[in-house]
Subunit: 349 residues, 2 copies
């Protein structure tokens, strides 16, 4: 065991406090990482405030972790001391099911083990990345190229792979027209990745107040979903729409913007059930689909692609000297008052 | 112009009456068909009773038409006198859009022209197959192999292609496990086709009263959706589920039966909006999708496949000497009191 400073939530909705937590001894295939930066994900807020059902407390949130290797187990083959690495949303999976064998650990049939608010198969409670150090099995550690902006890379470990994986799966590529619905923490990275993948990208937002940013990220158009003309002008236009919002959305109107055989892909997670008219899918063989973060091979591919194309999140860096700063940032996440993702400087924890 | 006896609905919900209607002169690329049998589709009832929005009256329903060629235009190349043929759901499309060029006339971007309750691009109102003759452009006529049971083949022109097309599109084949939800007019043909395509087929019905029929069609299991244990036993089992019902269905429970990357495919058309929880699609990259009848190339492929595998609908043949017999049959369609599809003997019209 070793101890490390962390930001801890002692019970649901409680204010964050600084506190030392224990990390396990570095096992044979484990890597100990000195955390440099830790991104804030909206799902941290949902779980810390117990909005997604019962959660485990005390909780150390955080699954967008970047840093440097400071210790390796005797059996570690992929990493060496000093190497820049990342840890994302999951830290274990069964390694035996069809999904795991297909490098899709995130869809593990036994249920992948989250980086926090989760218990590993052996009973060990997991604490996340709002801390100075973490110990993780090397299978769930990925390599980060030299020379990238490390703070801007942190959000890629969840937000980045959450959008990169469906962009690849549904075929963002030259010649494809796609729409990104919502340009927040997920959506702004989706625009950057989709443009880099060669697709023609339109952003659909409620208001037009992020239009300039979208165009600077490489989008070719930005249209308001509050304007009925949008649904006339863009009828049957897109190969697919990636919905990055967690709001209730007008599914039937959006389906009308999608070509034959196209899809409305959810990565945002609205808590309420969504409604649709069946004629909207049957009439053009469309689908309503969804995905979550990719497996470890794809996380690595995404980070390499991001490094090659100089893609990071657009961030606001937070000093955690006062823990209350992070609580305040969470409130701003809830009110969508951030362009576009918060990252905690772990040196200040 | 020529005239032909037909079953006519003079206004919405009116009783059917026998009446002579006009058919156009046989044009250069037209085929005149002496109708032998005409299937009854649930959509006939919806349209004749104006349940799908405003309809065109007088109406001659029917888009499951089989018969023999009795006249051909000078430019007809595919058909000769006496040949056994079929006419299905559509009788024209733009022939120029991407869908038409991809042999998917049913998804024509200009809007395909229905066989009845529709107006062709030139203004000609279309009358369907509850009649003794029909005149149709050869592009929308398909060939039927010698030796098949012609009455049992009629329902394939709509019900058959409605299920064959998604079975092929979503990959029914050896090694695949699929479920057919609902075993009525569409569902019972879906079971026969899916079995012939080599898939392992389970039927999901509300009650178990069609189990013996399903097993005789080649299904390996039949489970009740009213039994909660079904959703435990069959969790994550199916590559896809084909929903052939028009009822409201428990989408979230059904999604739980589908594997990673699988789909819940609608071909039935519930009139009410359907609800789903987004976690049901994101958690296993599933989709909710839908399709309708295939294009003309696929209709021909389906009929050839049916002939090769000796697949027809299981039918109840109707004598239309009294038009009221057909009204009564419609009522039985609404109450799902038919095993499994009605076919009108057109000689009796």
């Amino acid at each position: 065991m070793s101890t490390t400073p962390a930001l801890v939530i002692k019970q649901a909705k409680a204010a964050m406090v600084k506190y030392s937590i224990e990390r396990r001894e570095v096992g044979t295939t484990d890597v100990k990482v000195a955390i440099a930066y830790s991104g804030i994900c909206h799902s941290d807020v949902h779980q810390g405030r117990e909005e997604w059902g019962s959660a485990l407390f005390p909780m150390v949130p955080g699954h967008e972790i970047v840093g440097h290797v400071i210790e390796v187990g005797a059996g570690v083959t992929k990493f060496k001391l000093g190497q820049t690495v990342g840890v994302g949303v999951f830290v274990n999976s069964c390694r035996e099911c069809d999904a795991c064998k297909a490098n899709l650990e995130s869809y593990c049939e036994k249920g992948p083990v989250g980086s926090y608010n989760a218990t590993d198969y052996n009973g060990e409670v997991q604490y996340g990345g709002y801390a100075k150090e973490i110990v993780t099995d090397e299978h769930f550690v990925v390599s980060i190229a030299d020379g990238v902006n490390l703070a801007e890379t942190a959000p890629l470990l969840c937000a980045g792979i959450t959008v990169y994986s469906p962009l690849k799966h549904w075929g963002a590529a030259p010649g494809k027209k796609i729409a990104i619905l919502g340009m927040g923490g997920l959506g702004h990275i989706a625009v950057k990745f989709a443009v880099a993948l060669g697709a023609e990208v339109t952003v659909l937002g409620h208001s037009l107040n992020k239009k300039d940013d979208a165009m600077s990220f490489g989008a070719i158009d930005y249209r308001s979903t509050a304007d009925k003309q949008t649904f006339v002008d863009l009828k049957n236009k897109f190969d697919f729409i990636l919905n990055t919002t967690s709001a209730n959305i007008p599914i039937d109107d959006l389906l009308g913007l999608i070509k034959l055989d196209g899809s409305l892909v959810f990565v945002g997670l609205p808590s309420e059930s969504q409604e649709f008219n069946v004629f909207g899918v049957t009439g053009a063989r469309r689908s309503i689909s969804g995905s979550q973060v990719g497996g470890q091979v794809e996380v690595q591919e995404m980070l390499d692609f991001a490094a090659e194309h100089k893609i990071g999140a657009t961030i606001e860096l937070l000093d955690a000297t006062e823990a209350a700063t992070i609580d305040a940032a969470w409130n701003r996440v809830v009110s969508a008052d951030v362009r576009y993702r918060f990252v905690i400087d772990a040196q200040t924890i």
